[in-house]
Symmetry: C2
Subunit: 375 residues, 2 copies
DNA sequence: TTGAAAGCGCTAACAG
DNA sequence: CTGTTAGCGCTTTCAA
C-alpha cells in the first residue's frame, strides 16, 4: 500500500516556516535547501530534509512563482487531434520538458478556430509559463507573437514573427525528398503526390520535399491531390488516381492516407506494388502489418522534441547566449513491401503482372523491415 | 497581422493597481470586474474593462492562486504513449476541462516506472492543481491516494483507494461483451480472445466483457492469448492461433492487434472473414480501410471525458453535494467486413471457401459502414 | 455598490 | 555559511 501525501484532510498544509521551526533554522535556509543552493552545511541540509519529510511538506508553487517571477513550466499549443504525428510530438515534448525540470501546460486549438494559436498563447501566458511551444501549427495568416517569453515553433519554420520566436523544423522536407527519391531510384519515371491539407505547414513541407526531388532530376510533376490526412481522403484520392494511366508511384503525405489509397487502388483492380508503388509518411505502428506492409519514412519525434526543447530552455534561462542552430534530424526510410520497380510495361495494368517485386511482394514477413539511414 | 500581448520587452507588466488607477477605482473593484462578481455598476465595469484593454493587462495567475488557494487547473496523469485510446481521451479531457474553465497540467508516466502514478500525482500536487485525472492507468498494486484534492480515475474503477477518489469506467466491459455477442450471434460456437496486457485495467475490462458474453451463453472459453496492444504482438498471436483448428472467431482487445492478427492469419493461408472472423476494439481511423475493413467497437472517448470531468469539477466546487452516478456510455458496434457467419464446415479451412460473407466480403466499399447502437 | 487593510507562502536582496 | 527584511500581485475580510 503506497500512500501519497501524509496529512489527512483536516489540518492546513505545512509551510516552509513550519519546516524551519522543526529543523531549528530560518525559513530562508529551508528555501536554500529545497532549491539546492550552495552554502548549506550538510548537517543543516539533513535536518531540513528530515523535518520536511516528517511534516509531509510540499512546496507551494504559486508562492514560489509569485516571488520569483518564474513558473518553471512550459506551455504547449497543439492541435486537438489523435493523429499520430502531433500526439507523438506532444509525448516527446512532455518528456523533454520534464527532463529539463519544467512542468507542462497544454492547450489544444480546435482546427478551424479563428485566431486559434493567438488565443491559446494568450491563455497560456495568463496561466503563467516561462516559455511556449507551438507544435505543428496550421497556417492562420501572418501572426506575430509579441510576447515576453520565448516561443519555440515546431514544424513551421518562419510561421510566426516575434522577437523571441525560435523555429525548429522537423526535417519533414528532407524526409519527403528521401521518400520520393526512393521511388525514383527504383526506376519510376515520376512520382505522384497525395498531399496533406495545405493549411498545415507540415503538409507543405512534404510537398516541397517531393517537388525538390522531382526538380533535381528534371522529372515532370503530376498534379497534386490534396487529402485531409484521413484514410477516407486517401481512399477518395485513390479512386481518382486509378484512372490516371501514367500512375506508377505515389508518395502519400502520411500513412493513413497511404492506407486508404492502397485500398482504393485494390478496389480498382490495381495491385500494390506490382502496378503501383506507394510510400507513406510517419511509420505508424500498424504500417508494417497492413497489406502490403507499407514502405514509409519515420519521423524522429523524440529527437525533434528534445532538440527543440533544449533551444527553448536555453532561451529561457540564458537569454543572452546565441542559440545554436538545430541539427538536422536523421532521415530514416523504412523499406517494406509497398514499393517495387515499375512493371516492365509501364502502362501495363491490363496484364496484371504476376511476378512480385524484388522483395517478395506483399507477403514479406513484417519482421523483415530494413531501415536505411540516409545521413 | 494579429498581435498578441501589447507591451514590448521593456516595461514591467501592468498590474491590477495600474488598471485601477487608470479607471479611477480601487484595486478591489478591478478584481471584482475581472472575476465577474456582482455588485459592480455597469459604468464602472465598462471603465475597468477599457482600462485593462488599454494597458494590455493580463491577470497574474500565480498571485491569484496564492491569495485564493485555488489554481483553476486540473492535472492529468496519463501514459506516455501515442496509442489511440489514451491519446483520444487526453484530447477529450483537455476540451472538457477548458469548457469548465480549468487549465490543464499534464504528466506522463513511463510504463514500467515504479510508483509511476504516485510520483506523478505528487508532482502535480506540487505544481498546484485543484483536481487530478488519472487516465487509464495500469495496475501498480494497491495504491491509496490520500490527497487533499479530488481525483478522478478514468477506466480503472476501484483501482485506487482514497477519501476523495471518484472512479468512472469507460464502458469497455459492455463494449467487449457486445463485440463478443456479435460473433456469437453470427453463429460462431465460441470466440477466442486476443487480450491486451493484463496489467492494464483497460485490458482486463475487455477480458471480463468477453468472458461474460461467453458465460451467459454457456460457451466454452478458449485459452486467452495476451498481446501488448501492438500490431506486432497481434501478428505473433495470429501465428499461434492459426494452428488452432477450432478457431473461427476472434475478439481482439484493440484494432492494432486485430490488424496484426489478420495479417498473420492471411500469411498462414486463412481468410478473414471466410475462415475466421475478427472483431477489433477502438475504431481507429484506418480500420475502415485495411483489408478486410475491420468490424470493431467504438469507444465514446469524448462522452467519457466529458462526464468524468463533470464529476470532478463538481467534487472540486461543491465537495458536499452527493455525486451523481456516471451514466453508462453508449455501445456502438461498427459492422464492417471482417466478420461473417462461420463457414459451413466449421473446420473447413482445408477447402478454402470461395463464397464471401453475406456483406460482400473484403471489398465492401468502406462507405458502407453500418453502425448499430445497442442501447 | 465600493474601498482599505491584511495577508497568501515564498524568494530576493542585503547583512552578518 | 546563515538570518533579516521586504515585497511579488492578487483575494479576502471587514467597513463604509
Amino acid at each position: 500500500m503506497t500512500r501519497v501525501g501524509g496529512r489527512g484532510t483536516g489540518p492546513a498544509a505545512p509551510r516552509s516556516v513550519d519546516v524551519a521551526r522543526l529543523a531549528g533554522v530560518s525559513q530562508k535556509t529551508v528555501s536554500r535547501v529545497l532549491n539546492g543552493e550552495r552554502y548549506v552545511s550538510d548537517e543543516v541540509r539533513r535536518r531540513v530534509l528530515e523535518a520536511a519529510e516528517e511534516l509531509g511538506y510540499r512546496l507551494n508553487n504559486a508562492a514560489r512563482a509569485l516571488a520569483s517571477g518564474r513558473t518553471r513550466s512550459i506551455g504547449v499549443v497543439t492541435l486537438g487531434t489523435a493523429l499520430y504525428g502531433p500526439a507523438s510530438l506532444l509525448i516527446g515534448i512532455e518528456r523533454a520538458a520534464r527532463d529539463a525540470g519544467y512542468a507542462l501546460r497544454v492547450v489544444n486549438t480546435l482546427e478551424g478556430d479563428p485566431g486559434g494559436v493567438v488565443g491559446a498563447v494568450e491563455s497560456l501566458l495568463e496561466q503563467g509559463v516561462d516559455g511556449i511551444v507551438v507544435s505543428e501549427p496550421i497556417d492562420e495568416g501572418a501572426v506575430s507573437l509579441s510576447v515576453d517569453v520565448p516561443v519555440l515553433v515546431l514544424g513551421a519554420p518562419a510561421a510566426f514573427g516575434g522577437p523571441r520566436v525560435v523555429a525548429a523544423g522537423v526535417g519533414a522536407e528532407l524526409l519527403a525528398r528521401a521518400a520520393t527519391e526512393h521511388l525514383l531510384d527504383l526506376g519510376h519515371v515520376t512520382v505522384h503526390h497525395l498531399a496533406g491539407p495545405q493549411r498545415w505547414f507540415a503538409a507543405r513541407d512534404r510537398l516541397h520535399g517531393w517537388r525538390a526531388a522531382l526538380t533535381a532530376r528534371d522529372r515532370e510533376q503530376p498534379p497534386v491531390i490534396e487529402g485531409d490526412w484521413s484514410a477516407a481522403s486517401g481512399y477518395a484520392a485513390g479512386r481518382e488516381l486509378a484512372h490516371d494511366s501514367s500512375l506508377t508511384a505515389v508518395f502519400a503525405a502520411n500513412d493513413d492516407m497511404a492506407i486508404g489509397l492502397i485500398r482504393a487502388l485494390a478496389d480498382a483492380g490495381l495491385r500494390v506494388p506490382d502496378d503501383v508503388s506507394v510510400v507513406g509518411f510517419d511509420d505508424i505502428p500498424v504500417s508494417a502489418y497492413v497489406t502490403p506492409p507499407l514502405t514509409t519514412v519515420r519521423q524522429p519525434f523524440d529527437a525533434v522534441a528534445h532538440d527543440g526543447l533544449r533551444l527553448l530552455v536555453q532561451a529561457i534561462e540564458k537569454p543572452d547566449v546565441e542559440l545554436p542552430p538545430p541539427n538536422d534530424p536523421p532521415v530514416e526510410l523504412v523499406l517494406r513491401a509497398s514499393t517495387a520497380p515499375p512493371s516492365p510495361r509501364k502502362t501495363g495494368r491490363s496484364t496484371r503482372s504476376t511476378a512480385s517485386g524484388p522483395r517478395g511482394g506483399a507477403h514479406a514477413p513484417p519482421a523483415a523491415d530494413e531501415a536505411s539511414s540516409t545521413d
